[in-house]
């Protein structure tokens, strides 16, 4: 089936985008309020904590920004893959295994210099993520295996294997929790907003977003990658090595997922806890969608997502709803965003199915 994809001019009017986004957010929050009215015995209190909870004190506010850090990385990773019309659904496994790899390197080198050992740990995390996602890209390149499903399934297996290492060989015998031992002091990122857990890696995350922006829009590779994303057949005709750009975006995407894992270990948790990174991979997809795959827009989108989760956990602590209410809000936002951002995405998907 050959569909001729007509490319409409997409007016990149930022005000139109912001307006349509705020309508989406408005509807989503309206649904949340209705949901809370139905679920909570004291709706006024719950709603109050849901919306202003994250701003109540330094601790909540800092933690909210802190939980945006891994989302910036996962969001960037997904945005790169989407821009090239490849799909990486294995974020969960890549973040989790990246975290484990970073922890393992830090634990293996308890006496090393903080900078060298820390760099090694981050590289290990990036490497593991890149290999896991790169495999799906490689299979796609070689035999046309759908990378969307293969990356998800590989991730599903990897999550369980990481669980085994955290609860088995690397488990800390000193406590009854399902965690590894703590990494040494010199590997921990500096905290900048006590008493919250916000650490210095937030600057690193913002810098990375700018670097990805530069890579995508101002380098040769980035240009060719976007070309392949827009129209693979045409790019091939133009002499671009199309097959290479099936693997590269997946490798980059996986690297950022792994990095997210390393940052959450070295910045926030200081160890690997069973299941601690669950949701970061999926939320990265939502962040990339809200940001419309623009690396700079990933930063506010990640903070927005962190806000919803912080609101939900504040409402959980101070009132009587559960944290999973955040998942419902997020799913509504997914629905609304995609119903809106359809023009860009229908283009992508049509090309995929051709």
């Amino acid at each position: 089936m050959k569909l001729i994809v007509k490319r409409k001019k997409n007016p990149e009017n930022i005000f139109v985008n912001i307006f349509s986004l705020s309508v989406t957010m408005g509807i989503a929050f309206l649904i949340v309020i209705v949901l809370i009215l139905f679920l909570s015995k004291d709706p006024a209190k719950t709603i109050r904590y849901f919306f202003i909870g994250p701003f109540l004190n330094r601790y909540y506010f800092g933690n909210m920004l802190n939980s945006a850090i891994p989302l910036i990385f996962t969001g960037l990773g997904i945005a790169i893959a989407f821009k090239a019309s490849t799909f990486n659904l294995g974020g969960e496994g890549q973040v989790y295994s990246g975290a484990l790899a970073a922890t393992a390197v830090c634990l293996a080198l308890p006496e090393a210099n903080g900078f060298i050992g820390g760099s090694l740990a981050i590289l290990a995390a990036i490497g593991v993520g890149a290999v896991l996602a790169g495999l799906s890209g490689l299979f796609k390149m070689k035999w046309g295996t759908d990378e969307l499903i293969s990356s998800f399934l590989i991730s599903g297996a990897v999550v369980l294997i990481v669980n085994y290492f955290i609860t088995g060989p690397m488990d800390d015998p000193a406590n009854n929790l399902l965690t590894t031992r703590e990494i040494a002091k010199q590997y921990r990122f500096m905290q900048i907003f006590p008493p919250s857990k916000l650490d210095i890696s937030i600057f690193f995350a913002v810098l990375t977003a700018f670097l990805v922006f530069f890579f995508m829009f101002y380098t040769h590779w980035g240009y060719e990658m976007r070309m392949c994303g827009l129209n693979r057949e045409f790019s091939r005709y133009g002499g671009i090595k199309v097959k290479f750009y099936l693997v590269l975006p997946m490798i980059l995407s996986g690297s950022f997922q792994g990095l997210a894992g390393a940052v959450s270990v070295m910045g926030t948790y200081h160890m690997s806890v069973k299941g601690f990174s669950f949701g970061m991979g999926w939320n990265g997809i939502a962040v990339a969608l809200i940001a419309r795959n623009n690396p700079l827009a990933v930063i506010p989108a990640a903070i927005f997502f962190a806000y919803i989760e912080a609101g939900a956990s504040a409402a959980m602590i101070h009132s009587d709803v559960t944290f999973e209410i955040a998942a419902i809000v997020e799913s509504i936002i997914y629905f609304l965003i995609t119903a809106q951002a359809l023009k860009d995405f229908i283009r992508y998907r049509k090309r995929r199915t051709e």
């Binding site: 799909f87 295996t145 969307l148 599903g156 997020e330 629905f335 995609t338 119903a339």
Partner: protein
């Protein structure tokens, strides 16, 4: 299970375990034939699993429980379909949204109703009726495969046959396939491809509702995210089964067997449980890659 008199308990269990895969994959086949990648199978199954066990426990009737479960699953499928088709959302993203909604909604409601986010046991659930004919059970292979399963297993086989008839022998099925093959031809007939796609999504909601019910009613409990990737594996079963109902039966059996075998290995060997749990994923990924390699070489031979 040896004391129950089967010659190959691993195969007998595999036939039981494959049922949710089979049901979800048959529903997914309909959407696949209309040209949509339906990744919402996972979430729809979860909705079906949650609501059917709750209604079965509160009404005391299996039939009513499954019926309500199916109705609610089809309702969620309807929302998913309307947003995907009529608001022209990307089906992949709205599928992800459906999965997320399912996992959030089931936990939030479980907490609201039972005050508990973990495993919820239902003690007064009626037992699943099953077909037991002891002397037929003794026949090797035949008995292992056909006898002694619960009613859902036989229902799923019936659904496969009905699906095959609908897809290949009725005008509806032909138009359904036409929608995927060439939507413009359907439009030229004066029909709307979208309506057939919506019908396919509703059918997948129907089968996923039953598939979910199989999981929880068999277990007598609801566990958060009880589907644990089965919807995705069902998606792979559609491809491995070459988009053919009977091919899907074989593919589902392979996955059922790998899970049954890993249950067996868990008891019989010292392999850590997490590795064994990862086994079905690994089998699925290997099978999927193998299929694409086979297809790749087959198609390339045609070219040269």
């Amino acid at each position: 299970m040896n004391e129950s008199g089967y010659y190959f308990p691993v195969i007998h269990n595999a036939v039981g375990i494959m049922t949710p895969f089979l049901l979800a994959a048959i529903g997914g086949l309909f959407t696949e034939l209309t040209g949509m990648l339906n990744i919402a199978l996972e979430g729809l199954m979860l909705i079906g699993a949650f609501f059917s066990v709750i209604f079965a426990a509160s009404t005391g009737s299996l039939f009513l429980g499954v019926l309500f479960g199916i109705v609610i699953t089809m309702f969620i499928a309807l929302i998913f379909g309307l947003i995907s088709l009529y608001l022209k959302a990307d089906i992949f993203i709205s599928g992800l949204a459906t999965n997320l909604l399912a996992s959030g909604l089931t936990v939030v409601l479980a907490f609201k109703i039972f005050g508990n986010k973990g495993v919820i046991l239902f003690k007064n659930l009626p037992e699943l009726p099953s077909l037991n004919i002891p002397f037929l059970q003794k026949i090797p292979m035949f008995g292992d495969i056909f006898i002694g399963h619960n009613i859902f297993v036989y229902l799923s086989w019936l659904i496969v046959i009905i699906a095959a008839v609908v897809i290949y022998k009725t005008p509806f099925g032909m138009r359904l396939r036409g929608t995927g093959y060439n939507p413009r031809a359907i439009t030229a007939l004066g029909l709307k491809p979208r309506n057939y796609q919506l019908a396919a999504i509703l059918i997948s909601g129907f089968t996923c509702g039953i598939a979910g019910a199989v999981l929880t009613l068999n277990l007598g409990a609801f566990v958060p995210n009880i589907t644990s990737g089965r919807g995705w594996i069902a998606l792979v079963a559609i491809y491995l089964g070459n988009k053919n109902p009977f091919g899907i039966v074989i593919a589902s059996f392979v996955f059922g067997f790998s899970e049954s075998f890993s249950n067996y290995a868990q008891g019989a060997t010292k392999i850590p449980a997490d590795f064994i749990l990862a086994f079905p994923y690994i089998i699925t990924v290997v099978a999927m890659i193998g299929y694409s390699v086979w297809k790749y070489y087959k198609e390339n031979r045609k070219v040269f």
